[in-house]
């Protein structure tokens, strides 16, 4: 078992692959016209994503408390913004949960969604990628981007495919979470200027 995973998965970029696969899948899905194909495509992407998460959970070193599968590059050096991904014991289970929920959601909307199937699947894939991004990202800037990116597809899912009072509920959801996002931004800026680095992980 150990030997199979001795080689770093995807050259050490496994978390990037997991996070961006649904988002790239969403872009590809925009060009599919057929509704049936859209369902099968979304299912394939989410199932592949789930399969990719399994080795991350299985090879996770339970004896270490630090970040694992780390990818860390300088992104915008003048503002000290990094591309910094990793999972520790706190986030790895939720990466797994998100990947599991992803393909079940596609199955759950197989026949329940009748109109604008392709657009719905695009929303599902985008929110999937954003949620994975929130759990694996360790840089303030990128974390905030993913946090915000979750909001829009969820607003659309409620507001377009929801029940009779969907506009009211979607707006309520949006306003609440937007208020939260503004405060999050203020908090992040406060911590950023106080010092201590741009990472949300403080070992």
């Amino acid at each position: 078992m150990e030997d199979i995973f001795a080689v770093p998965l995807f050259g050490g970029h496994i978390l990037s692959v997991i996070t961006f696969l649904p988002i790239i899948g969403a872009f590809v899905l925009l060009f599919l016209k057929n509704e049936r194909a859209a369902r099968w495509f979304a299912l394939s992407v989410t199932v592949i994503d789930f399969i990719l998460v399994i080795p991350v959970v299985c090879t996770f070193d339970v004896t270490a408390h630090g970040m694992q599968f780390v990818e860390r590059y300088s992104w915008i050096p003048s503002f000290n913004i990094q591309y910094y991904l990793g999972v520790d014991g706190i986030s790895v289970l939720f990466v797994f949960l998100t990947a599991l929920v992803g393909w079940v959601c596609v199955l759950a909307s197989w026949t329940a969604i009748e109109k604008k199937v392709r657009e719905f699947m695009v929303s599902l894939l985008v929110i999937q990628g954003a949620m994975l991004g929130v759990f694996v990202d360790l840089d303030f800037f990128l974390f905030y981007m993913f946090w915000e990116a979750m909001l829009i597809p969820m607003y659309l899912i409620i507001g377009v495919w929801g029940g009779p009072r969907r506009i009211y509920s979607a707006l309520k959801f949006f306003l609440y979470t937007l208020a939260g996002s503004v405060l999050l931004l203020v908090g992040i800026i406060a911590v950023y200027f106080k010092g201590g680095g741009p990472s949300i992980y403080r070992p």
Partner: protein, 296 residues
């Protein structure tokens, strides 16, 4: 990097509001039932399964390690808010006739256990809280999936119009029964392990808390079992039912696609329930490290 206390307190409160909206904690919870009731099934699953966990994940990633003194300072009010959420959410759930609204209010109650557990600052509490985060993601997602499956057939979520599911859709009723047990924390299901750890952590920290948790658990049993009974067996008021005539007729049982989706969740109900050790082992070292920073 260690911040001075006034700064910690200021930023802690900012982050607290952000995450409390997301969780959602009392009194920021009013968006959740509306969003759940109107969202399509997949939207509810994502919301309950993952989006709510973002709030508690935020507490674990930001609040506790970055602002440990402020976390300790504010732990009592947060525990009080959590207790209110547990009991208030449970009673609200008990009063619902709409299935989705019922599960949504039960989410508020269950998320209350998690926020309470995280601010106990002992190992059982935090591990129990994290395990409950995972469990809630599994069980509540599966419950929303089940509500969506029956809604697709009958186009109503009004429990007063249901009955006899155990007779007409036996597989569906069987799976719903397992999920009901998981939701109330029956031994051998995932909910039991999580709730047990939370209770132990609460007992270790401040004994009277266990009393309030017990009220929440008992009310939880009441509303979940009552929902299952109203859906699956003779509705209250006799075979003809107390309510108006509704879709109390034969609908088709689970198809292959739906069975796979439900079983994916049920597998984890028993995996965590019967063998929680690997799930606790994976978080063990990180929780130790977190505690070493928070306990100060």
């Amino acid at each position: 990097m260690h911040y001075a206390f006034p700064f910690q307190a200021f930023v802690f409160v900012l982050f607290f509001i952000v995450f409390a909206i997301k969780v959602p904690m009392f009194p920021f919870h009013t968006w959740l039932p509306d969003a759940h009731v109107e969202a399509p099934t997949a939207g509810s699953i994502i919301l309950a399964g993952v989006l709510l966990k973002m709030g508690t994940y935020g507490f674990l990633r930001f609040s506790l390690p970055m602002f440990p003194e402020a976390s300790r300072f504010f732990s009592t009010p947060i525990i009080i808010l959590s207790v209110i959420a547990i009991i208030y959410g449970a009673f609200l759930a008990y009063a619902q006739d709409d299935m989705k609204r019922l599960v949504a209010y039960s989410s508020i109650s269950h998320m209350g256990y998690i926020t309470l557990a995280l601010f106990l600052f002992n190992k059982r509490g935090i591990e129990g809280g994290m395990l409950q985060m995972f469990n809630h993601g599994i069980t509540t997602s599966a419950l929303f999936l089940c509500v969506g499956i029956i809604y697709e057939r009958t186009h109503t979520r009004d429990l007063r119009r249901y009955g006899w599911a155990a007779k007409y859709v036996p597989f569906y009723a069987f799976f719903l029964f397992i999920l009901t047990l998981a939701s109330v924390g029956f031994p051998t299901t995932n909910g039991f392990m999580g709730e047990l750890l939370v209770l132990l952590g609460a007992y270790e920290n401040y004994r009277p808390l266990v009393f309030f948790l017990a009220i929440g658990i008992l009310t939880g049993v009441a509303y979940m079992v009552w929902m299952f009974l109203r859906l699956s067996f003779v509705p209250l008021g006799g075979p003809s039912g107390g309510g108006e005539e509704g879709p109390r007729h034969k609908v088709w049982d689970l198809n292959f696609r739906e069975t796979v989706a439900v079983l994916a969740f049920i597998a984890f109900v028993f995996l965590v329930g019967l063998r929680p050790a690997p799930f606790l082992a994976i978080m063990n070292e990180s929780v130790n490290h977190l505690l070493s920073r928070v306990a100060g």
